[in-house]
Homo-oligomer: 347 residues x 4
């Protein structure tokens, strides 16, 4: 931590601030300029509280944290990408993994058809919501347990892994029984009760970035899960909320590259929620491969116009198959992306 | 709903769109311009799905909802302000209500002292967190049940009502046993499992606006609670997330005035989280009274420099007492604010 | 400046960074922690370049400026509020000053009527655009010179001061000939050519905050004008751009309080652009008085429904007169706002 | 336009609104629902004023524009991509064009070296600022005319085209004399005086998106230039301002794909300003090629640590050469991107 004192602070004021820092277990060093004193604090302690406490002192101009506020998820803790194995597929490894399927599980026919469509085109994981977070209490809220059972049927029919959302700590055991990957939606990224429960659920997690969460907050939420016992976490960029309305959200694609520098966790991009527009999904998916994401999660529906949710951003079967075909040469280049070499050396 | 077709749509395309709208139970009317056809849909149905479904059709340029997506919380449903009674105090009535206290319950001495300080200065409700949502898993997470018991002690000592946060649907019964008002934090505004559970908790709710939620989304979240059985909801503006960093959040004070036009639910302003800076709290509190909020929720700590959280934005006892004194003439003016007359006539 | 080195930097790397800092004329002091070295730089130099240069060095983790990047506009440079005299009215003094009038000067009848309406209700300055910044090239762009002449006529008829916008450095001499105050619109807040020209124009300036500009950037733009020779600058909060759409912009009212701490320049609030809705203007205007703004700039039109621009946010004559009446008791309280006492002591 | 009346409007109110619309030259058609009347307006008129005027009427709930607010720049006006020829290079054609060079022209040696470096690596256009928009009046403001002359020298030495920024309508003739492309910076995207002047400057324009401007506003600003006589405009996505701080701005890469659907103007991406971090530039540049941008504008400096501005985001010569090499296979794929086929058919 670096603490900058206000101009013309007195010796007593400086001494009070130093004493407060030392109470938190840090060592202090000070730099005395002609106008201003700056104090450095070194050591291990409760950084957040210490910073808040110092900022509450009237003599302090600014208190800044230098070290990252997370440990287990950082590149400094582990250089090699975390590999997550799901039914024979490895996320974070040598394969670019596509997860695809409808927004909601609607009925048996729809989900079985969806599973076949996405499997045939090359996806390895089937997505589909049984519990749906809906802004309005009057909208379709999902089939819940019945939906989970239908996903299980689709898995048995196709061999695909299953990813589905869980919205409450109460439901974690039930969802973990059926799903291969538990998805945490953007609105729950800082549902800390849920995050803690995931630490013990025994399943890999896909953690979506909150719509107004920073990259650092996303990493802190992942740290919650890892610190509570579950290292199998992947992150998902799905667009953030800005003033722009031409797309549903604003895809912060550079966050994928930034995350690849900061963390060893795999990073997945969701081009469907990021844009909200089917026609933009293929181009953005190419960009996701090119920038070095580890995979995609894409909405596909057998008949988007009849979808019970997110129809406008769902690809139809033909569009999805075409996109998967078009992505192939990009995936070939992805296998030898320059950052990879740097990572291997670093390991 | 208004559906605008793409330029030069064919008759067949228009007929398909009309048929789709009718499947959702609406009546259609169309306007034929020289270049473009616009279709109006009137009636009652599943609006969200219908809009999404139409936007998924390639012939549709734009589909816009006209009516508000909420019912029970709207001014059209009820003109008179909802009054919420808490231990002899009425929120939403003729009194401007101040809730105050520390960010976290830290120990018995701290919370009893805080309660006395805020009661003496004129607050009617004591705030204090027993469950704390913290960005980092390594920060103080609250005293939980022990904290609730200490709040109860403070209530018995002072007669103040108690407001405290609940973070998980699992904890609702326990928190409802101790608290007079359940607070839902900004990060949980769209935790729909939690919102549904609150519908049956038997306690008034203070629902904080999410840090990147719109006013309409706030109203939709309130609608969840009301539609699930609990009409005792008050809303809280606590600042939204923007690019500005001179304050912790950006206080969207005009949202208070906008809410007073849109809803009958009481509106509370939190100047502490909105600014993150103690020195700005008194001026913003005056503005909150002037614009017509129904109350404030303010962080006060016996010794902010020693607070375990939010010290920088907590008032000390003297500052809080001074602020309460300074607010008095503004509260006198508040009692005859012009919008009030309009409301009474409307009732 | 504080420069934090990357973990495990070598002695050579540290020496290189120190040398680079010294090239910019600063003295360096370093703090050596167990894991990390932090360097403080003290003195006077080209801070921005130095920071950018250091951040370009691979060994540097972070480089942070401590001192404010502006001088003349800061409270440290001058404690007493800058007073700006315009035809017998003093902005920044003991009077709360209201500027009002239509968005655009449309014709002689409209501007003369507007002037009489706002003068009668107690405004001291007439606003009205002769040069209009319009998003579309096909919208009404203003009457230009003819509009300035009509404003002059309205001034002579009523004795009001005149404020009007200037959009190009080329037009500054012409607008300065007619206007008492030159207004710089939000879109031109960082039009640095224009700002430099204003330094020599001999008229007071009202500088509107850019729609996505921070408070610090607003102060830097004011610094441009002052540093180029014109200390008569007032600042204007007119709402910033966020994701919220219930209002046209989001009024960052706490910025008014923050500015009052940071600068001695008067601060004006524009409730019309901040909300975009006539019905919200009176409540927000009360809040502006309560928080301690020095004045308002409000859109008023003899017949808003026939206005050539901004009709939805313009008050009609009766509404404006009512609002001015309702503001009176708030202005009485404003004259003895607590911050004022603090300011006088500080002087 | 679609105008939705308030619930329970009377016949007189509806008639007033219709009459107002007709005054603007539109034909009206109304849809009468059980609760609400909706009016469609068809024809050609001053849409912005008409919408504003209607929203000023108390009976109107909402007034929405359906048709796009721009003409010449839209895909409906022209399907084939606009091709811009600059010294033998065609932007918007079959070649992916890279513009590169330092942030500022600093001196003869630096700009000549830069030109050679970027030419050798395959760039076709040299960037370099002679007029610099700087937030602080105390920062380096550029060499102005002397800088333009040095750029001319670099052009003669290498054959590269020259792109440089112009900040004021006053300077347009001088800059147009030296530059092959005039760059309009983000802060001037809505400097309408400047945009009008560019209509007659006789040079191609690179128009940067404002840091909080929407895609539609960017197109409207381009429409200004085209409508004033200059069809040679290319657009530039350079990141928008959001709450995220891990990058300097947030690159809205999906805007590139959206622009390719909406306009025929070429689209360039600036990965340097979008990220502010040298290490993220190569990955983002690959994504820009993959999503279908027409080119890049990249900051490169012979010695970034000694740069007078933007050092942290400038590539050094070796990094730039490596990136250009790595982009080659992506550019091969770019030549047969699927959207291109769609475009050719459409033509």
């Amino acid at each position: 931590m670096i603490i900058s004192m206000k101009l013309h602070s007195t010796k007593e004021e400086i001494a009070q601030v130093k004493a407060r820092i030392e109470e938190f277990g840090y060592k202090v060093h000070s730099i005395e300029g002609e106008e201003r004193v700056v104090i450095g604090a070194v050591g291990v302690g409760d950084v957040t509280n210490c910073l808040e406490s110092l900022e509450a002192m009237p003599q302090v101009e600014k208190a800044v944290r230098i070290s990252a506020p997370y440990k287990f998820v950082s590149k400094e803790f582990r250089q090699a990408k975390t590999e997550i194995k799901v039914r024979g597929t490895v996320i974070g490894g040598d394969e670019f993994v596509v997860m695809a399927g409808p927004c909601s599980v609607e009925n048996e026919k729809q989900i079985l058809e969806s599973a076949e469509i996405v499997a045939r085109a090359g996806a390895k994981i089937l997505r589909g919501g049984a519990f749906k977070p809906r802004t309005s209490p009057y909208d379709f809220q999902g089939l819940e347990l019945e939906g989970l059972k239908l996903l299980d049927k689709a898995r048995r029919a196709t061999g695909l892994g299953i990813i589905t959302e869980v919205m409450s700590d109460r439901d974690v055991p039930m969802v973990a029984e059926y799903a291969d990957i538990l998805q945490i939606g953007a609105r729950n990224m800082q549902n800390f009760s849920l995050l803690k429960t995931l630490g013990q659920c025994g399943r890999p997690i896909l953690l979506k970035r909150g719509m107004s969460s920073t990259v650092k907050e996303l990493l802190m939420s992942a740290e919650y899960i890892v610190a509570h016992g579950n290292p199998q976490v992947m992150l998902c960029e799905r667009g953030i909320r800005t003033f722009e309305t031409v797309t549903r959200n604003t895809c912060d694609i550079a966050a994928v590259a930034a995350l690849n520098e900061l963390t060893h966790l795999p990073v997945i991009l969701d081009p469907s929620h990021a844009t909200g527009k089917r026609s933009l999904v293929p181009a953005l998916s190419r960009a996701a491969v090119a920038i070095g994401a580890d995979g995609l999660i894409v909405e596909v529906h057998p008949n988007p116009e009849k979808a019970m949710s997110d129809g406008a951003q769902s690809l139809d079967p033909k569009q999805f198959a075409q996109m998967m075909e078009d992505l192939k040469p990009y995936i070939e280049l992805w296998k030898r992306r320059p950052e990879l070499a740097a990572q291997h050396v670093a390991v």
